[in-house]
Subunit: 226 residues, 2 copies
DNA sequence: TTTTAAATGATAGCATTACTATCATAAATA
DNA sequence: TATTTATGATAGTAATGCTATCATTTAAAA
């Protein structure tokens, strides 16, 4: 039995804690698989219920609707990524090396994390790339924000922003640069695969190019305002 | 009667050309208004039909489904923006000034364009900011791309990429930087309004800050690799 | 160990969504 | 004037997005 890490989740995101029961974990796992496979628009509670061998009503007991489930998954992902970043940059003092590591963690293909049994991070990463923005690109963004549903995302952004600030306290846009890094780590990945002419990496399709691009972008900007 | 500009549209996007009839124009106009107001997820053909005073079937004669309509609106927007950029940078020879103008055009609040009677660009701009990415963040992205539905977006990106290339032919990521500018012009705007802690402009909420940020980002990167 | 509570399964139902089809009529075109 | 073509009116159907009820199984408290 390996040590397990759990991400603390906002209780407003679920009706019943999915990680406290087998059925709940099944819902999470199969939802990730299914959304990844057929896309969020085509995903329904009925379909995932059938896949699991429970009923639609069974899924509704855990999540109010599929939007909440998506927000849950994104929140979990950002929380997990924050943990990954803190874990992997813990011993690094130089903020520049730290920021480079963060960029690598953001843009690298994710390996399944042994510390969390219940979630396939690799699949989840793919899901967040193509569906993640839909969590906040809704009319409910204000309400959801009030309920702190996006706190993990904002926390992550704040952490990255503070590392940028450490690199160069005079740089004027640490938070916007941080959100740019996060979004572009994902969007460039998506573009590279599905709309390659929007990137310079269409042929190789390798994440290392995105990391190089982001490093170039970020450190040129930070240095520039010294 | 002022001269009118029309954006050439991919015929695969509609069943019947909406700009060739009053009903069609009504569908476009009221769809923009309604999606802007209630969000794409809550928008239905039935609702917009009732608003216009036609029937659901009437709207379906113009567009296959609401996804196609969204792709149509985004394609129109990018086509229109390309025209704006070509129009407003026509006489500029210095690529640096040109690129600055492009960034300003991308990130500024849009004024309603007198050259197009039939579409409210200001509303459409707001719609594209919050719903635009949903046009390509779907499982159909590959099919839609094959049908050239995203050509206007890609063309715009190519134009900006070539201006970046003119500024510094040695810069390695002109296309990725171009798509970054385009996406961030919109995302930073969205964040500034709805998730302000993801930006450095939460208090003022002024687009000029986004323009300054993007200029800083872009020209630092371009200069850096000279 | 009993008793009680909590979670699940099974089934039903209902309003809305996302369409497709048909037929009559009005408007535009040949 | 004949004939396409576009619109209006109405119906219908499968899927979606839920809510509700009741029996049963499982787990926790007494």
């Amino acid at each position: 039995m390996k040590p397990q890490v759990q991400i603390r989740m906002n209780e407003g995101l679920f009706l019943r804690d999915p990680l406290h029961s087998e059925l709940g974990k099944n819902i999470i796992n199969h939802s990730i698989k299914m959304i990844h496979k057929i896309g969020f628009e085509n995903f329904t509670f009925k379909k995932v219920a059938e896949e699991i061998g429970t009923t639609e009503a069974g899924v509704y007991r855990y999540f109010e609707n599929k939007h909440k489930l998506l927000v849950y998954l994104t929140a979990w992902y950002w929380g997990w990524l924050e943990f990954q970043i803190i874990f992997h940059t813990n011993n690094i003092t130089d903020p520049i090396i730290k920021l480079k590591k963060i960029i690598t963690l953001l843009a690298s293909p994710v390996e399944d994390d042994e510390l969390t049994d219940h979630i396939d991070e690799k699949l989840l990463h793919g899901l967040i790339i193509s569906e993640g923005s839909k969590a906040y690109l809704t009319k409910e963004v204000g309400d959801d924000n009030k309920k702190k549903f996006f706190k993990p995302y904002k926390d992550l952004c704040a952490i990255i922003g503070s590392v940028i600030n450490e690199c160069n306290p005079k740089y004027k846009y640490p938070k916007s640069l941080a959100s740019t890094i996060i979004e572009m780590a994902h969007f460039q990945h998506y573009f590279m695969h599905y709309l390659p002419s929007l990137t310079d990496f269409g042929k190789s399709k390798e994440e290392s190019n995105i990391i190089a691009f982001l490093n170039d972008l970020v450190f040129a900007s930070i240095k520039n305002n010294k």
